[in-house]
Each structure stands twice: as C-alpha cells, then as structure tokens.
C-alpha cells in the first residue's frame, strides 16, 4: 500500500518535459518534490504565478508571494505574475498541460466531487470547478477508501459534483486506474503487495481487470 508521498511520486512519472502543470492542495502539492531530474516543467499557481519555486529560506518569506494554498513560496528565473482573470484564462484556454488534484469521490463515468459535504463542511470549490471543466489532462490523487473503510471510487458520486465526465486517470494508495470512455475503472497497476481481490473489494464502482496487472514502480 502506498503512502501519500508514494502516490505523489508515482504521479510525478506522468509529467513530461515542457509541461505547464497545476498542482492542487494536499497530495498534489507533494508531486513537486518528485519531478524527475532533467525534466523542465513550469508550475502554475492559480492565484497568479507561473514558475512556482520552492519554499523560501527562513527569514526570506514574502507576504506578497504565496501559492494557491496560501503558503509562502518563491519565484524562479523565468517566472511571471498575472491577475486572477488571466490565470483562469490560461486554464480555460487549455494552455496548462496537466492538472493534478484531490477528490473526495470519483465515479466510474469520470464525475468528481471534492468541494462540499452538505450540512457538514462547506469550504467552497476555489478553482477546482474551473480546472476540471477545462483541463484536457487531469490526474486525481486520492485515497481509495475513506477512514470508515468505504470506497471513494463509486458507481455514482453521492456528494455535490465539482465536474462531470472529466476525470481520466486516478492514482490511489492501492492502484493506478483509467476511467474508460464507456464508463468503468480500468485497473492499470497495483501498489506493491496489494492483490487484485483487495482492489476489487475496495472499489464500489465497476472495476475492469484485463490481463496481467503489474505492480507500480517508482523509479
């Protein structure tokens, strides 16, 4: 079973040279730590920055320079700053190559829910609805099962939706899965030591297993 760091590490392998990438809050943020050497990527932060650098050294924090998670960050040579409308303009116009975000639920037809639990938690969608509605390439980083042991990969989402039929790939602590155009979670890889049976039990939606399913590799 993978840790959050290992989920991030596995997703990082999907990043290609020359990509502009938007990383969501949570596990997606960790992906930045595992971008393979020799690959040039530019991280977009939707509050208005391209070319997000690492956290500042202690004492060099700048209150005017934060990421979408409100963390202090730095710029890099080649960075640019712009306003919020332009930031979502480039997202809507599909200039951003890859979006990685978290989810509470994903359904077998690619719907995603990650912004609201009615009556309990109302934080808002932030930029997630814009991202999932426009991005051509979205990877969801999420836990396969919740704390109560229930599957988060469902036939149909139970929570209010963030977007419809927009998710194509999911990486969890158990598996890498694609969402098929006709619906269903196609199992591509399993975490080391995790059986197909266990993944089957942990997936409430339709799981498609064809042929040999290799273990995920991180290097």
């Amino acid at each position: 079973m993978f840790s959050k760091e290992e989920i991030a590490q596995r997703i990082a392998k999907e990043i290609k040279d020359g990509y502009y990438v938007n990383l969501g809050i949570g596990i997606p943020t960790l992906v930045a730590n595992y971008i393979p050497k020799g690959i040039n990527v530019v991280l977009q932060s939707e509050n208005g920055l391209l070319g997000m650098g690492p956290f500042p050294f202690e004492g060099e924090e700048d209150a005017d320079l934060i990421n979408a998670g409100k963390q202090t960050i730095t710029t890099l040579p080649g960075s640019s700053i712009f306003d919020s409308a332009m930031s979502f303009g480039m997202i809507r116009a599909q200039k951003v190559d890859l979006t990685i975000l978290g989810a509470m639920e994903v359904s077998e037809n690619g719907d995603i829910a990650n912004w609201k639990i009615p009556g309990k938690m109302v934080k808002g969608m932030g930029g997630a609805m814009d991202l999932v509605a426009s991005a051509k390439n979205i990877i969801v980083a999420m836990q396969h099962i919740n704390k109560a042991g229930e599957s988060k990969l469902l036939p149909k989402c139970t929570l209010p939706l963030t977007g419809v039929k927009c998710i194509k790939k999911i990486v969890t602590e158990l598996a890498v899965l694609d969402i098929l155009p006709e619906g269903g979670f196609k199992l591509l890889e399993r975490a080391p030591g995790v059986s197909i049976e266990f993944i089957q039990q942990s997936t409430a939606g339709r799981l498609v297993v064809e042929g040999e399913i290799p273990e995920m590799k991180l290097d």
């Binding site: 932060s45 939707e46 509050n47 208005g48 920055l49 690492p54 956290f55 500042p56 050294f57 202690e58 004492g59 060099e60 924090e61 700048d62 209150a63 005017d64 320079l65 934060i66 990421n67 979408a68 998670g69 409100k70 963390q71 202090t72 960050i73 710029t75 700053i81 712009f82 306003d83 919020s84 409308a85 930031s87 979502f88 303009g89 997202i91 809507r92 719907d111 912004w115 609201k116 009556g119 309990k120 938690m121 109302v122 934080k123 808002g124 969608m125 932030g126 930029g127 997630a128 609805m129 814009d130 509605a133 426009s134 209010p160 939706l161 963030t162 977007g163 419809v164 039929k165």
Partner: protein, 234 residues
C-alpha cells in the same frame, strides 16, 4: 491630470452605507485592503454584500466584518480558513453564494470590459448551474454568468500615483486589477503614493481611469496565513 487623492480610509469609504455591494481584492490575506476593512469595521456599516475570493480568517481581513455581523451576503470561491464564517453559513445566519474562482474573476473582468455576461464551462452539470442558461458551442456546454454589478470596489496596490494609476507587487496582484475595473466607484489604497509622472506609463497595471479615490495606506500588517520555509543549506 485629474487628482484622485483622498486623505485616508475614513474619507475613502465615507459614502459606503448599509446595504451596499462591495468588492474586496486579495487572495487569502495576500493583497487585501487592510486600511479600508478596518475603516468599515469602525464605521459599522451593515447588511453588506461582499464579493471577495475569500472571507479572511477569524481575526483578520473580512473575518473582522463577519464577527460584527456586518455582512449579509458573501460571494466567494473558497472560505475554508474562517471558522466563524462556516458557523454562520451552516446556521443560516449568513447568505453565501459560492462560485468557481475563475467565474468570479471573469465576472469582474466582464464588468470592467463593459460586457454584460460571459460563458464558462466551470460548473456545468453541478449545483452551480442551477437556474442558469446553458449554451452549447462546438459540442461543449457553457454556463452564462453575468458581469458583477458592484457599488464599490476596494483594492490594495503596491504603488499608485495621484492620477490613480496602480502597480501591484508579486502575487498580491491576484483579484485587485480586475476588481479595480469592476466597481462603479473604485477605491485604491497603496503602500506608496507618488506624484503623477513618477511611475513609468509602460509599467502601469491599472490605468487611473478605473480608480476614483486613492490614498496612502498605513500600518500594513500583511499577515502570512501559512508560513512555509526550507532550511538554509549549510
């Protein structure tokens, strides 16, 4: 050159009265108009509709106005940092319109560009789409979202001149330029106010035509929400 300078926050907000719709720039606590928020808290105007990406934190930013129940309705994209906000929302004391962040920014942009509405795919098929017109362009559905109609926009810039031209610094730019364009009356507070002519016209982010009142702000706290650092390399 037309002089837009007012004495300070108190004068700048003098005609903001109960029931007004106001936009407030900033992302999280970054680039928020601290001076004007404090003046609104002191003035105790009520029943405000506030359009702002976030709602501050419990004891800073718009959170200060929420605590005093000055806000009737909040239009935001993300309010997760404010426990009092979530409490007022879940108990029904506060009216809240949560909208996608890009929709929020682009509805400001539309107002500033003189366009009545925009079409965006954000929210199609979700509860955000309820009651909204859907149009299909080239096989994809889009929601029609109206330009904002705000009585006042209050923004914070790094530098400004007496003619109302503004320059923002780093990611404190965020919503400020698009909100500056969108208010019927736009108020700008700046860290450094200079004479017209001192800023290079090529480097102006917001032309003074959009700004009605400008003043030199003071005592900026610039609170950091998530102080994240790395260890120095020895």
């Amino acid at each position: 050159m037309i002089n837009k300078v007012v004495s300070g926050a108190e004068e700048a907000i003098t005609d903001i009265s109960d029931g007004a719709t106001i936009m407030l720039g900033g992302f999280g606590l970054c680039g928020i108009p601290e001076n004007c928020i404090n003046a609104l808290v002191t003035k105790q105007v009520k029943n405000l509709t506030c359009i702002s990406n976030n709602a501050g934190v419990d004891d800073f930013g718009i959170g200060l106005m929420l605590k005093q129940r000055q806000v009737k309705k909040m239009i935001s994209s993300y309010v997760g940092e404010n426990a009092e906000f979530e409490r007022q929302l879940l108990s029904g004391e506060l009216e809240v319109d949560l909208i996608p962040q890009g929709t929020l920014a682009t509805r400001c942009l539309a107002a500033g560009y003189g366009m009545p509405a925009i079409f965006t795919p954000a929210g199609v098929g979700t509860e955000v789409a309820e009651g909204k017109e859907v149009r299909n362009f080239d096989g994809k559905d889009y929601l029609m979202e109206y330009a904002f109609d705000a009585d006042f926009a209050i923004v914070k810039a790094w530098k400004g001149d007496t003619a109302g031209n503004l320059i923002f610094r780093s990611t404190s730019r965020n919503f400020n330029p698009v909100m500056a364009m969108a208010g019927k009356i736009t108020i700008a507070e700046v860290e450094e106010l200079v004479e017209a002519g001192e800023l290079d016209p090529d480097y102006i982010h917001t032309p003074g035509i959009y700004v009605h009142r400008i003043f030199q702000g003071k005592d900026y706290e610039k609170r950091i929400e998530q102080r994240t650092v790395r260890k120095s390399e020895v």
